[in-house]
């Protein structure tokens, strides 16, 4: 299959060793970049702890939120208990009625996109799709998405430079007030009624769950959607292949998540001085688990820079790995599977008119990750 336009910025470093000594926020960070090393570290919470509020995301987030995110920023064994509270909500994404709702939503958005002369994918397609799909996950009225759409690509660090973090915290705090007064079947009501170690959750804990529910699945889903559409535009044969063999959707989805790797990396804190594959990490300092680098590890993936829609097995870790693996993964997978299905059904071809790539410019590397804007025209199939 065709060559993807991916440039893996970690290739040379990874050939030398599985760790790269770099820095973020003026602090040293030992960045793991080999797949096996990242997987192993992700499962070793004693050496590499998530008990580090505001510091699991890199760069750190004290400036944009006031609450610890649950269950992201705690370690087992309490992590297991925190996670159990919300797991049933996130698993609803595998139920037939949920899948059907997603089909209806994506069909509507794809048909609308196909019928326009042109469409800017990030703002006019991906953000509405992400926000409206999230109403299914949180079991909220679909009209609520109109508020969320205003928060941009990234709640905390949108291109406009204005963080919507505090606005979002005020909004979710208000939702918890309403849920306590008049509980329904939604995510927020469930949290107000949840039991943790024989007590109710505190408001800060509830806010911590709400915070990641909105922030965690936002730019990630939006970026993946723009990457998938750009890939299909650049590889028209992929749309044909998906039409000829609808079963390809499952493996194509995993491969496109590997290719997009929307979360470059997440941090863990070393509670004591630690030797990380030859890099010394002082107590209290961070390592990074670089999922994106791991997903292009040539010792695991044959020809990693080529997108092979039928790649299997495909042991990518775009959703992380171990106890903290992405709670929203079933929901995100469903979005991409449905998108591929509906695009292959309604779109003959996609062409890019203008594209502005996002670039993560860091101390020791630059990684292109999705798009600021992506203008396309979509040729309808029946035209």
């Amino acid at each position: 299959m065709s060559q993807c336009p991916y440039h893996d910025p970690f290739k040379e470093a990874r050939r030398e060793k599985p760790v790269m000594a770099t820095e973020f926020d003026g602090e040293p960070v030992a960045m793991l970049i080999g797949l096996k090393e990242v997987r192993k570290a992700a499962r070793d919470h004693e050496t590499f702890s998530s008990d580090a509020p505001f510091r699991v995301p890199i760069p750190r987030e004290e400036d944009v939120r006031t609450v610890r995110q649950y269950p992201l920023e705690v370690d087992p064994p309490v992590h297991t208990e925190y996670r159990k509270i919300v797991e049933p909500f996130f698993r609803r994404a595998t139920k037939p009625e949920y899948i059907e709702k997603m089909e209806t939503l994506v069909d509507e958005l794809v048909v609308d996109a196909v019928n326009r002369d042109s469409i800017e994918i990030v703002r006019e397609f991906a953000i509405p799709l992400q926000s409206r799909a999230l109403t299914f996950l949180l079991n909220m009225p679909e009209s609520e998405a109109d508020i969320w759409i205003q928060w941009g690509t990234h709640v905390f660090r949108d291109e406009s430079g204005v963080s919507k973090g505090h606005e979002m915290e005020a909004y979710t705090n208000d939702l918890f007030d309403k849920a306590e007064a008049n509980p329904g079947d939604d995510f927020f009501s469930a949290l107000t009624q949840a039991e943790f170690q024989g007590r109710k959750l505190t408001r800060d804990e509830m806010q911590g769950y709400a915070n990641i529910a909105f922030a965690g699945g936002r730019d990630t889903v939006i970026n993946t959607i723009s990457m998938v559409i750009a890939y299909l535009a650049e590889h028209p044969e992929a749309l044909d292949a998906l039409r000829d063999n609808p079963k390809l959707v499952t493996s194509a989805t995993e491969e496109l998540f590997r290719y997009a790797s929307p979360v470059t990396h997440l941090g863990r804190m070393c509670p004591v001085d630690t030797d990380v594959h030859g890099v010394k990490v002082e107590a209290g300092k961070l390592i990074s688990l670089n999922w994106a680098a791991a997903n292009f590890d040539e010792t695991v993936f044959d020809d990693p820079e080529t997108v092979k829609l039928d790649r299997r097995p495909n042991p990518h870790i775009a959703f992380g790995n171990g106890a903290h693996n992405c709670l929203g993964a079933p929901h995100a997978r469903l979005i991409v599977r449905t998108l591929l299905k509906k695009l292959s059904q309604h779109a003959a071809s996609i062409s890019i008119t203008t594209a502005h790539r996002k670039v993560e410019k860091e101390a020791d590397y630059e990684r292109r990750n999705a798009f600021h804007t992506l203008d396309v025209t979509i040729e309808p199939r029946d035209a």
Partner: protein, 103 residues
């Protein structure tokens, strides 16, 4: 016809008659507890982990290198561990018993 038995993490035995296709699909079609199969069977997620009864290992076959890497870090993995999505059932597998690893 191929009959397979799943022993689920809660200790229940579930028998499936006329099992065809991948062992993972058989499990998900029959709502076997402990088989989440999040990635849909392309060997990405490790959520369809089973332990094949030792006497069946030869017929089912051991995990290849890539699959073994995925399983190596799973809790409760043994020499008999497989990802059920990588097992295509044939008539030869009639009577197969697997334990579902769960989480």
């Amino acid at each position: 016809m191929t009959r397979v038995t799943f022993i689920t993490p809660d200790g229940n035995q579930v028998q499936v008659e006329d099992a065809v296709g991948s062992l993972m699909n058989v499990a998900t079609d029959n709502d076997i507890t402990g088989i989440d199969a999040d990635c849909g069977g392309v060997g990405s997620c490790g959520t369809c982990h089973v332990r094949v009864r030792p006497e069946w290992l030869e017929k089912v076959g051991k995990a290849d290198a890539l699959e073994k890497d995925l399983l190596d870090l799973e809790e409760n993995a043994t020499e008999c561990s497989r990802l059920s999505c990588q097992i295509e059932l044939t008539d030869e597998h009639d009577g197969l018993v697997v334990e579902v690893a769960g989480r």
